[in-house]
Each structure stands twice: as structure tokens, then as C-alpha cells.
């Protein structure tokens, strides 16, 4: 998946771009809008102003982390489809411990994020256990854990985590001193995006340049060979799985810390699933996955503006990533068959 010739990469990119362009134009026409107007509104909403750019980067934070998390798992051969649930576990942990943490804001933030990452990693444990001991494919168990996590959020914001001072199904808000302030006035982007990008870089270095990363990749690429040369197959898979969950949990924690300030229901707009799409578009290479995540965040920010200005439904931002991934999968499979 990772070593493609330049010509092949070009062919795959061309297929993806033409599919995405066709989807954009087709959907705009369906909505009765000139595609040119729709694309202009989309671009302006994504990067046309300081506020627009800030919106894109604010949305990118969670997506970059889930995309990198998905890449780590996929490269080790773990099909973690449960990033959505791990994201929610992180958000729940952040909302639960956030209002309790005392001390300096910096220490409180660190505690909150550590709790979120830990919760995300713990949320993979049932799936990892069922896979290792009972042979349950992690694809299925992680999907089911997504449903359980969504149900838990729904119940918690009406129960244990509900703000005692309010009537709404939402948790207590984090103290203002703890919440991350916007980097620039009039924009929603915070330092969280820097944390996400730094972690994407860290994951890239770890996976591509360290002996440990080599072992993880070997386990994913050729499990039998990796086992034959004495690599601890099960342990490596679990580490990649847990790291992937920790990234998603951290994404949930940062969403609470930097964007929402509290937990409500339903909490996610598919950060886990879109993160998986970004990982697939980026060939499960953490850096390419992070770039794809920023692209999808721009699409999300732009499509909100597009819906407001031109009436083309903003759900376009969910369709286009799916179409892009389908095009990339089809193009890669076709090229692989030609080569064989």
C-alpha cells in the first residue's frame, strides 16, 4: 500500500480527482445551482478569509488525529473501524474529569488530555480481547462498540454527567480558564491544531523511521513472515490498536477542550468515519492521511458556507470523501491487477 511508483500514484490521483470533480458538479446541478457558484462558495467558505481558514483548521484537529490513528492501525494490519467510539470515549473522559481538575490551567489541560487518550485506548480493549481470545473479527466488534459508545454518551448527558444547574441534556462546561482560547480573534482555531499536526509528524517518524515502526509495518504486511522471524505478533497488533484508540480519544478530548467546552448528544458528526476515509485516501501513510484530513475539513467548512450561500445541501461534505475513497480503491485494485 505504501510503495507506489510515481506513474501509479499519478494515475490513482487522476482517478480520484476526476471522481471528486464529477461528484461536485453533479451534486450542484442536482440541487439546481451552477457548479461554478457552488465551487466558489465552497472555496470561499474553506479558505476565503481568516475566519474561514480558522474554521477549516478548527475542524481539521479531530480529523487529523483520527486519520493518523486509523493509519497506525491499518499499517499494523488491524482493521479498527471503531475510531468513532474511541473518539466518544475520549470526549466523555474529558467532560467527566475536566470540571474536577484543580491547579494551573496547563496542568488541568494535560490531565484532561491524558484522561481522553487513555479512555480512547481502553475502548479498544474489549475488541482486542475478543479478537485475540475468541477470534471475533475486530471489524465487527469495533463497529458495535461505536454503537455502545453513542448510547453511553446519550445516557450520560442525561444522567451522571448532566449539568446539575441546567435543563439541557449536556455536561457541565469546562472553566473558561481551562478551555483553549482561539489563536486569533474572530476565529475558532486554537493551538489544538498544532498539537494534532505535531502528533501526525511524530507518528510518521515512528512508523517510517524507527525499528519499532518497521516491526509494526512488517506485522501488517506479512504476518506469517513477521511471526517466523520472532516478532511478537499479538503484542505489536495490540500496541498499534491501542495507539490508534489513544489518537482517537485525544481527538475527542481536544474537541471538548478546544471547540465545544462540554459534551452533548449526539456529539460527533462522524469524525471517526471521516478519519478512516482520510487514512484510506492517504494510503495509510500518517502524513498523507493528515493532509487528506485537512482537505476533508476544508470541504466541511466550505460546504456549510455553500449551503448557506447557494442552497446546495452541506451533506456534500460527507459524499465527496466517500466517492474519493471509492475511486482510489477502484483505481488501485485495477492497477494491481494489470501489474499481476
Amino acid at each position: 500500500m505504501n510503495r507506489e511508483s510515481a506513474a501509479r500514484r499519478f494515475a490513482v490521483a487522476a482517478a480520484a480527482l476526476s471522481a471528486a470533480a464529477a461528484a461536485l458538479v453533479g451534486l450542484a446541478l442536482l440541487a439546481g445551482t451552477s457548479p461554478l457558484d457552488a465551487v466558489r462558495a465552497l472555496a470561499e467558505g474553506a479558505a476565503g478569509s481568516r475566519a474561514a481558514l480558522g474554521e477549516t483548521l478548527a475542524r481539521a484537529t479531530a480529523l487529523v488525529l483520527t486519520a493518523v490513528g486509523a493509519s497506525l492501525a491499518f499499517r499494523a494490519g488491524v482493521l479498527n473501524i471503531g475510531l468513532e467510539g474511541q473518539f466518544l470515549a475520549g470526549a466523555v473522559a474529558a467532560a467527566a474529569v475536566g470540571p474536577l481538575l484543580a491547579g494551573s490551567p496547563l496542568a488541568a489541560r494535560a490531565g484532561l488530555l491524558a484522561a481522553a487518550a487513555l479512555a480512547g485506548a481502553l475502548w479498544v480493549v474489549p475488541a482486542a480481547y475478543l479478537e485475540a481470545r475468541r477470534g471475533v473479527p475486530e471489524v465487527l466488534s469495533t463497529i458495535l462498540l461505536n454503537l455502545v459508545a453513542a448510547a453511553a454518551v446519550s445516557g450520560l448527558v442525561r444522567g451522571a454527567l448532566q449539568d446539575p444547574g441546567g435543563d439541557y441534556p449536556q455536561s457541565r462546561a469546562l472553566p473558561d480558564a481551562v478551555r483553549l482560547a482561539p489563536l486569533a480573534a474572530g476565529s475558532r482555531v486554537t493551538a489544538a491544531i498544532l498539537i494534532a499536526l505535531a502528533l501526525a509528524l511524530f507518528a510518521t517518524l515512528l512508523l517510517e523511521w524507527t525499528p519499532f515502526g518497521l516491526k509494526l509495518r512488517a506485522t501488517g504486511l506479512a504476518p506469517a513472515a513477521a511471526r517466523a522471524i520472532g516478532l511478537p505478533h499479538a503484542r505489536l497488533r495490540f500496541l498499534a490498536f491501542a495507539a490508534s484508540g489513544a489518537f482517537a480519544g485525544l481527538a475527542g478530548g481536544l474537541e471538548v477542550l478546544a471547540v465545544t467546552g462540554l459534551l452533548y448528544d449526539p456529539f460527533t458528526a462522524g469524525a471517526g468515519y471521516t478519519g478512516i476515509a482520510a487514512a484510506l485516501l492517504g494510503g495509510s501513510h500518517p502524513l498523507a492521511a493528515a493532509l487528506s484530513a485537512v482537505l476533508f475539513a476544508a470541504l466541511g467548512a466550505g460546504s456549510s458556507a455553500m449551503q448557506r450561500d447557494t442552497g446546495v445541501p452541506g451533506a456534500l461534505a460527507t459524499i465527496v470523501p466517500g466517492v474519493l475513497v471509492l475511486a482510489v480503491l477502484a483505481a488501485r485494485a485495477r492497477l494491481a491487477r494489470k501489474a499481476a
Partner: protein, 286 residues
């Protein structure tokens, strides 16, 4: 209590349809984890047809037709195209969730009002004919797989595709046919939700039922008749959730929301995972 039983049966019917279709596809050697998306497509198609004047039975047919097309499209990528079915299914869910939300907004406009459709008339036990028929689909699937020539070809495509190819059969054709059938059944399951349980369309109306149906197939160990107890169990948990929610129970609401998913997880653990899985499940056609 009879109300509880009727609701359990009503909720089990869409699960059974979707799971039976998925079971056929998996027995043929492919897998569609985007079943949730296919159910959404069926739910939306039925809603759109009913809103544009079709009767509930015609709406059901329209959904089945959309499901046939969806199954053919999935097969074009994951069967004939040989792309990894798990990854295609993940993207499939995005396209279906986004596509139905997009179309719903075009149809309903930006108004927040709930658009209702006519539901299927009840035939017996308060259930419409289509929901009752759903309980015969696993029986039909069992007979089809065990007793008919196309059924045997389907099983061969999932157990030993090379042997099927060697005897002149086409693995791609068999799996594509299974995918088309699975698409129709999944879409019918989604349509049944809109035409019985909740007579309107909202984004994500399927509420994870496609994912539960996927788990049911493993729980049933790929045997059609064993889908019935699993579906009744999961549907019963959902019915219990409705009942206790309305009754103001002291047991936390979240426990019942989470119950179907938790039950499916325990069921998977009890079924010991891959036992009984088709040998060529998820592998590309030769």
C-alpha cells in the same frame, strides 16, 4: 405484553431481511459492512416514493429496486473490481449517509417540519404482510442454499472459488448476483422501518441496525435459520428500551440504548468468532 411482543416482531423483521441478505453475500465469499448505508438507501427511497404519491406497497417495491442497483454498484467495486470489500463498505456508508441526507434536504427543503408517509396496513397480529413475510426469508434462504443448484454454486463461491471456476462457473457472476440480492433485502429492511415503525425519514433513521444485522450473521454462524433467535433477542432489547423509556424506569436510559449493541457483542463472544465462516470470506475472486 402482547404489545411488547408485536413491537419485538415488528423490529425484528427489518433486521432479519437485512441479515438474511448479508448472509447470502457472505456465504458467496464477499462481505458488505456498508449494510447500514444500503438500509438507509432503502429507507430514503421508500420515503421519497411515498411522498411522491406512491402507496406503501409501491414504495416498498421502489426501495427493493434501489437496493438491486445498490447491490450491483457494490459488486462493481468489490467483486468485479476486486477492491477490498471491507474498505469499499466503509466508504459506502459515507456515500449513503451523505447521499440520503443530501437528497432529503432537496426533497424536504430547509423546513424543520416532519413529513409523514402512509404506513403499511396490518394483516395479522398488528403486523403488515411484509413484516410477516420477513420471517419466511431465512427459511427460504436455508432451502435455497441446501437444496438448489444456484444455492450450491453460491456456497461453492464462498468455500472454494477455485473449484467453482475450474468447473466452468463464474465466481464474479455468482457473487454479483448475491450482492444484488443482498442489496434488495437490505433496502427492503430499511424501507420497512419507514413504512412501519417510524413513518418519516430522518438522517440516520436506521440507527445502527445495519451494523447489528452484520453481527447477527456471525452470531448465526452463517446459518439462515439461526438468524431468527438472534434477531428476536436484539429486537426484544430495543422494544424493552422503548417500553422502559416511556414508563420512566429507574434503570439508566443508556443501559437500554446500549443493550442491542452489547447483546450483539456478547453473542459474538459466545459464537467464538470465525467458527463456521465461509473459507474464502473477503478474498478476491480468482
Amino acid at each position: 405484553m402482547s404489545g411488547f411482543l408485536a413491537i419485538t416482531l415488528l423490529l425484528a423483521a427489518p433486521l432479519l431481511l437485512a441479515a438474511a441478505g448479508e448472509l447470502l453475500l457472505e456465504r458467496a465469499g464477499s462481505i458488505q459492512i456498508g449494510l447500514e448505508g444500503t438500509m438507509l438507501i432503502g429507507a430514503f427511497t421508500a420515503f421519497a416514493a411515498a411522498r411522491s404519491g406512491a402507496g406503501p406497497h409501491a414504495a416498498l417495491l421502489a426501495a427493493a429496486f434501489a437496493g438491486l442497483l445498490a447491490g450491483a454498484a457494490f459488486a462493481a467495486f468489490a467483486v468485479a473490481g476486486r477492491a477490498d470489500p471491507i474498505l469499499v463498505g466503509t466508504a459506502w456508508n459515507l456515500v449513503a449517509a451523505g447521499g440520503t441526507a443530501f437528497s432529503y434536504r432537496l426533497l424536504a427543503g430547509a423546513t424543520g417540519s416532519v413529513l409523514e408517509v402512509r404506513t403499511l396496513p396490518p394483516l395479522a397480529f398488528g403486523l403488515p404482510a411484509a413484516a410477516l413475510a420477513a420471517f419466511f426469508v431465512p427459511v427460504a434462504a436455508e432451502v435455497f442454499l441446501a437444496r438448489t443448484r444456484p444455492g450450491l454454486a453460491l456456497v461453492a463461491a464462498g468455500e472454494n472459488p477455485l473449484a467453482l471456476a475450474a468447473t466452468g462457473g463464474s465466481v464474479v457472476a455468482v457473487r454479483t448476483a448475491a450482492s444484488v440480492a443482498a442489496g434488495a433485502l437490505g433496502a427492503l429492511g430499511g424501507a420497512l422501518l419507514v413504512l412501519t415503525v417510524s413513518p418519516t425519514f430522518v438522517e440516520g433513521v436506521t440507527a445502527g441496525r445495519g451494523f447489528l444485522a452484520l453481527a447477527l450473521v456471525v452470531f448465526a454462524r452463517w446459518k439462515p435459520l439461526r438468524l431468527v433467535p438472534g434477531a428476536l433477542l436484539v429486537a426484544g432489547a430495543t422494544a424493552l428500551q422503548y417500553r422502559l423509556q416511556a414508563g420512566g424506569s429507574r434503570i439508566p436510559y443508556a443501559v437500554f440504548l446500549a443493550l442491542p449493541g452489547l447483546l450483539a457483542l456478547f453473542a459474538l463472544a459466545a459464537a467464538r468468532g470465525r467458527g463456521g465462516a465461509p473459507k474464502a470470506l473477503g478474498t478476491p475472486a480468482p
